[in-house]
């Protein structure tokens, strides 16, 4: 079967201002990226990137954003991402930048990468922590994430058994 091939760009919103988090939502991010592409590559580039461009996933708490575009034009998109300077939403704008973490062919690989990346971050945090309380906290959350995974899997099975 033939399908349209896409590229998924996983990036991270970096901002000095913590209030910027409230701007992290589908529309704002999408507009900002589009705007950047338009500025950098002009109408042609914007049109290329706009085909099937969407924000597939974002997390305001961690600042993660997953963008999708066609495989043909992902270079245009990636090259424009550093030019995103601010996010605007509800008449408030906050300066920020996008940090590309990963470019993948499927959502699944991006998710896998995100897991790995987050783990690494947590471990780094664990290494760098200075006081005992902090260490305990991080360890707890680290453990919690691996624990809940098994939980969720078992829950999955129950769900599967239910309707059948």
């Amino acid at each position: 079967m033939v399908r349209f091939k896409n590229r998924y760009v996983l990036c991270e919103v970096v901002s000095e201002d913590p209030r910027c988090r409230q701007c992290i939502e589908d529309r704002a991010v999408g507009l900002a990226v589009r705007d950047a592409v338009g500025r950098v590559h002009g109408d042609y580039g914007l049109a290329c990137c706009s085909i099937s461009f969407t924000v597939k996933y974002l997390n305001a708490y961690t600042g993660t954003v997953l963008l999708r575009c066609r495989k043909d034009s992902y270079r245009l998109l990636c090259s424009a991402l550093p030019f995103v300077r601010q996010l605007e939403s509800r008449n408030q704008r906050y300066p920020c930048s996008l940090n590309t973490l990963h470019v993948g062919g499927t959502i699944r690989t991006c998710q896998k990468f995100l897991i790995q990346y987050n783990r690494r971050q947590l471990l780094m945090l664990l290494q760098n922590c200075t006081n005992e309380e902090e260490r305990r906290c991080i360890q707890k959350s680290l453990l919690s994430c691996s624990l809940t995974e098994e939980h969720s899997q078992s829950g999955d099975e129950e769900d599967d058994d239910g309707p059948e």
Binding site: R27, R108, Q111, T130, C145, E149, Q153, D159
Partner: protein, 1003 residues
């Protein structure tokens, strides 16, 4: 399809993480509403996640607000967890432990969500298909252990799912097949020919049965040809039979209450009462004639056999059964179920089990291997009604009179053969049973009743007479030559024995009977009374016959063992004898053209023998029809068909309602631009006929014109004359207003000179006034009084020359149309409908729910002048609902936009559905208010509606059947010139073109 696909997608997307944004509403955190949670996702973990968040954020001290967010509390609160996403950099400015913990928890939650998404298998493929190529092994799907161990668990689950259904071979194994069929019969009753029909017909579920609607092959015209030239077979076993048993006078006394002599036959009709003929009549609620119609029935009395008790079969359509049964029970006061019949089903079940045991011993080997062998023991083909509760009684007895009503639905099969050659099919298929004096096998009960019977010489001679008459039937050219409703009882041998090798068309051999006096005698005298006797009336014999049927398998086995293959199989004494009843169907009796068209024979069989008779009939070249063909048959006969054409009985109303919803659904399925705008076309109700409103409006018109000399009406000049005519005060006025010829005036004078009549009229009018108040409760009635219909029919005739009409009238013994005659009719039936048939004069093809209208005078003039004039056009109406609908649409659009906007800015706001749903029923092109005066809505006055219309293959022009308002009809006939009587206009709902048609009432 799409539903399944969506479900699949939902299952797939269930574990995918949804985007997480900050709560939008400033202020204390709203509980979870702001975050777009995955709808079916793992709610538990999400909540956990959120709770963690809340606890962390709310636990934070408030100092930061002062430091960084002097503007407002809200922001400060929101910003509290900000360290979460840029841990190190911002961390100098705040106590570290909080930042770190939120940071870590946010990550951990995300990891969780992602893990969940990744761990789930995303594709639709099986587990072993997702393995990389190098890990694949042969026969992996079969042997789970070839899979890597981590996948074995999942694969096991998948495999279990697949093995749920048995393989086709197992499913088609006879015992499993029968069990499956029995299961499917529990909900809807299957006829015995169901499987045969299901392979060749579009099946519909109707009235609790599975019935063949029409053949899948192209056979519209072929079925018509079979009806007119050869023979069309139809399985009517779904018709319900109620059996009444009791003393004759007791039965008749009560039955007289539910029918009326006015409508023709009653149960007391002498020739029917003797059991010689079948009768058909319309039933009404007890003492309520002419209101509260129950429906049409046919009935057969069992011939007198010396005993005091008589048996009566009442056959009816299943849609009418419940009402009739209730009414009969009420009339005869049969409330309690009869106890004698309760043990009956139990004994039959025991016998069934016994039989099954025999079957089991034959096929034990296989049964033992089968895991469910023990369970599958009571598998037996259902004969009769599969939905019946075996422990519930289906007969009721009256304590006072001893009358028993029993429901014998599906106990007796009924096939209908339509067409001139149907009796040659019958005579070829059926052979009268041979006499038998010895029991073939003393163990079984096979034929023991017949042997008993053959010992009685009187009965033997009766059987011989019956079979002689049956043989003579072949000499008839058409069943219509017999007196209508003739009954012939018969006992026949097994029809499977003399099955022809090839399908052949049964043709009569007239030469054999050319100079046969006996045939002529049969013509003249019909079948004598005693020949109507049949053993099918005896329930015990029927049961015996049903149970002792030789199975198809055994029969084929015996055929195989014949010395000369293909020779005639002689079963000798083992051959079953089956009592049957043949009833002639009269076909078209009313009207002048095609007399006797569609006549045929009904054959009544004991249950269980359905297929044994069906296949031999098929082998005689009959064509089989379904419900549609039956409808066409009655359409060409111009008789009303139950329950479609009985708008005044419950089943008819139900039918109309269902038809309306289905038509409306069909209408809505079209794209709006391709729909007919019925408002513009001036069609007020394209999907249903508003009979009540029609009769009410006509009544109102009549009253208005009676009271006021110049009523407001589209035809003032016509109404004025009508107004005069309704004022029955002065004869001179009548004379002036009467457009009739001089002769009529003469007769009128004669009548009006008799003052007695007038006073009678006045009294009648007074009575009518009283009655009117009581009548307002019931909506309308359908006129079925034969006398009145005859009169109307005579009035409808056009008179090219006066003599013809006069001759006709004198022949029918009718009076000329004057208001002295029709006023009492109007008074006594202010809200009546009349069943009419219409045949189009020139072009045009009438459709369902076409409108019957009164032509204006100009139309008639134009028609006589112009030979190519097809009919006037209705001027286009204005769609007064258009702007309303459009406004609504715009509002909806606006709201939608608002909603989407609101959704963008404010996710938790719920779209207010109430306002949009309020006007849901306003559809462009349909009249959405209460109907105005429907008679005067269009340029031509509305008279009635067509309930069935099509191009008639029999007449060669468009023909329609329908109802018109009696008041309207009289009004029209009175005002029409003599040579144009009965001319009306027809207009189909989706057209503006009127077509001329001739209106007829056939009695």
């Amino acid at each position: 399809m799409s539903g399944a696909r969506e479900k699949k997608r939902a299952k797939k997307m269930r574990n995918q993480p949804a985007s997480v944004t900050l709560p939008a509403e400033p202020g204390p955190f709203p509980g979870g509403g702001s975050r777009a949670c995955p709808p079916s996702g793992d709610v538990r973990s999400e909540q956990q996640y959120q709770q963690q968040k809340f606890s962390n954020q709310s636990s934070g001290p408030s100092y930061r607000k002062d430091q960084y967010f002097p503007k407002g509390q809200n922001r400060g609160e929101r910003g509290r967890g900000r360290g979460g996403w840029q841990g190190g950099r911002v961390s100098e400015e705040m106590p570290k432990y909080i930042t770190v913990s939120t940071f870590a928890q946010a990550r951990a939650a995300e990891i969780n969500a992602m893990l969940k998404a990744v761990a789930q298998k995303s594709s639709n493929s099986l587990v072993f298909q997702t393995l990389p190529r190098h890990m694949r092994r042969r026969a992996m799907s079969h042997n789970i252990k070839r899979l890597p161990r981590r996948l074995q668990e999942i694969a096991r689950k998948e495999k279990k799912e697949q093995s749920k259904t048995k393989c086709r071979k197992a499913r088609r194994r006879h015992i499993n097949l029968v069990a499956e069929f029995n299961r499917r019969q529990r909900k809807n009753i299957w006829l015995e020919t169901h499987i045969w029909h299901a392979k060749r017909f579009h099946m519909v579920k109707k009235w609790g049965y599975c019935l063949g609607d029409s053949p899948t092959e192209k056979s519209y015209r072929a079925c018509y040809r079979a009806m007119t030239k050869h023979c069309l077979l139809q399985d009517l076993s779904y018709y319900c039979c109620l059996e009444l048993t009791g003393k004759e006078n007791e039965l008749l006394k009560q039955l007289a209450r539910i029918c009326s002599i006015d409508t023709g036959l009653t149960f007391e009709e002498a020739c029917c009462l003797s059991g010689r003929f079948e009768g058909s009549l319309n039933l009404y609620r007890a003492d309520r004639y002419p209101e509260d119609m129950l429906g049409p029935i046919t009935f057969i009395w069992k011939p007198r056999d010396g005993s005091e008790n008589r048996q009566l079969w009442i056959w009816m359509h299943p849609a009418l059964k419940q009402d009739m049964l209730r009414e009969l029970k009420a009339v005869f006061q049969c409330s309690e179920p009869e106890e004698i019949y309760i043990p009956e089903p139990i004994t039959t079940t025991i016998q069934e089990e016994k039989q099954v045991d025999v079957v089991l011993s034959l096929g034990k080997k296989r049964k033992k291997e089968d895991k469910e062998g023990e369970k599958a023991v009571p598998v037996k083909k259902i004969i009769g009604d599969g939905t019946r509760d075996p422990f519930q009684s289906y007969s009721w007895i009256s304590q006072t009179t001893g009358i028993v009503i029993s429901d014998r639905t599906m106990e007796i099969l009924r096939y209908r053969l339509i067409g001139p050659l149907s009796h040659s099919v019958l005579t070829e298929t059926l052979k009268a049973a041979s006499l038998q004096t010895e029991v073939a096998d003393s163990e079984t009960e096979l034929n023991n009743w017949w042997v008993e019977n053959c010992k009685d010489s009187e009965k033997v001679s009766l059987h011989q007479r019956q079979s002689a008459i049956f043989e003579l039937l072949e000499g008839m050219s058409s069943p219509s030559e017999m007196p209508p409703g003739t009954i012939l009882g018969l006992t026949v041998g097994d029809p499977r024995v003399n099955l022809p090798k090839k399908k052949t068309k049964a043709m009569p051999d007239f030469e054999k009977y050319q100079d046969n006096d006996k045939v002529r005698q049969l013509y003249l005298e019909g079948v004598p009374v005693d020949c109507a006797h049949s053993f099918i009336w005896d329930q015990d014999i029927c049961k015996n016959v049903t149970e002792n049927k030789i199975s198809e398998q055994d029969l084929n086995h015996m055929r195989a063992q014949l010395l000369v293959p293909g020779s005639h199989l002689d079963l000798g004494p083992c051959e079953s004898k089956i009592p049957i009843l043949l009833v002639q169907q009269p076909g078209k009796m009313a009207g002048e053209d095609r007399p006797g068209w569609g006549s045929g024979w009904d054959i009544y069989l004991p249950k269980g023998w359905g297929m044994a008779f069906w296949i031999p009939f098929i082998y005689r070249g009959v064509r089989v029809g379904g419900l549609q063909e039956a409808l066409k048959h009655s359409e060409y006969q111009r008789t009303p068909h139950a329950p479609n054409d009985f708008p005044d009985c419950q089943a008819g109303m139900q039918f109309a309602k269902e038809l309306e919803t289905s038509l409306l659904e069909k209408f809505k399925r079209r794209p709006p631009a391709k729909r007919a705008n019925y408002v513009k076309l001036g069609t007020l109700s394209p999907f249903v006929c508003p009979w009540g409103q029609l009769t009410k409006n006509w009544e109102g018109r009549m009253k208005a014109s009676g009271e006021f000399v110049h009523p407001s009406s589209p035809h003032p000049e016509l109404c004025a004359t009508e107004g005069h005519s309704f004022c029955d005060s002065k004869a001179e006025v009548v004379k002036e207003a009467s457009p009739e010829t001089g002769e009529v005036e003469e007769t009128m004078e004669i009548i009006s000179s008799e003052g007695v009549l007038k006073t009678e009229d006045v009294i009648g009018a007074q009575e009518f006034g009283e009655r009117d108040e009581t009548m307002t409760t019931s909506d309308f009635i359908v006129l079925r009084s034969e006398k009145l219909l005859m009169q109307l029919s005579a009035w409808c005739y056009p008179t090219a020359g006066k003599d013809r009409r006069l001759r006709l009238i004198s022949r029918l013994g009718q009076k000329e149309m004057t208001e002295d005659v029709f006023l009492p009719i109007l008074m006594s039936y202010p809200r009546a409908l009349v069943w009419v048939n219409l045949s189009l004069l020139r072009k045009g093809n009438p459709e369902l729910h076409a409108m019957i209208c009164i032509p204006a005078e100009d139309d008639l003039v134009h028609l006589s002048k112009d030979k190519l004039f097809c009919g006037p056009q209705e001027p286009k109406h204005r769609d007064i609902f258009k702007h309303k609908v459009q406004k609504l649409k715009e509002e909806k659009k606006k709201k939608k936009k608002d909603n989407t906007k609101a959704l963008e800015s404010d996710p938790p706001s719920v779209p207010d559905k109430k306002t949009t749903e309020e006007h849901e029923d306003l559809i462009l092109g349909l009249w959405s208010d209460a109907l105005p005066d429907i008679t005067s809505h269009c340029s031509r006055t509305l008279l009635g509606y067509v309930t069935r219309g099509d191009f008639s293959l029999a007449a060669g022009c468009g023909e329609a059947l329908g109802f018109v308002s009696l008041t309207g009809l009289l009004y029209m006939l009175y005002n029409q010139p003599a040579d144009k009587k009965g001319l009306v206009l027809l207009r189909t709902p989706a057209s503006l073109q009127y077509r001329f048609a001739r209106l007829n009432i056939e009695v």
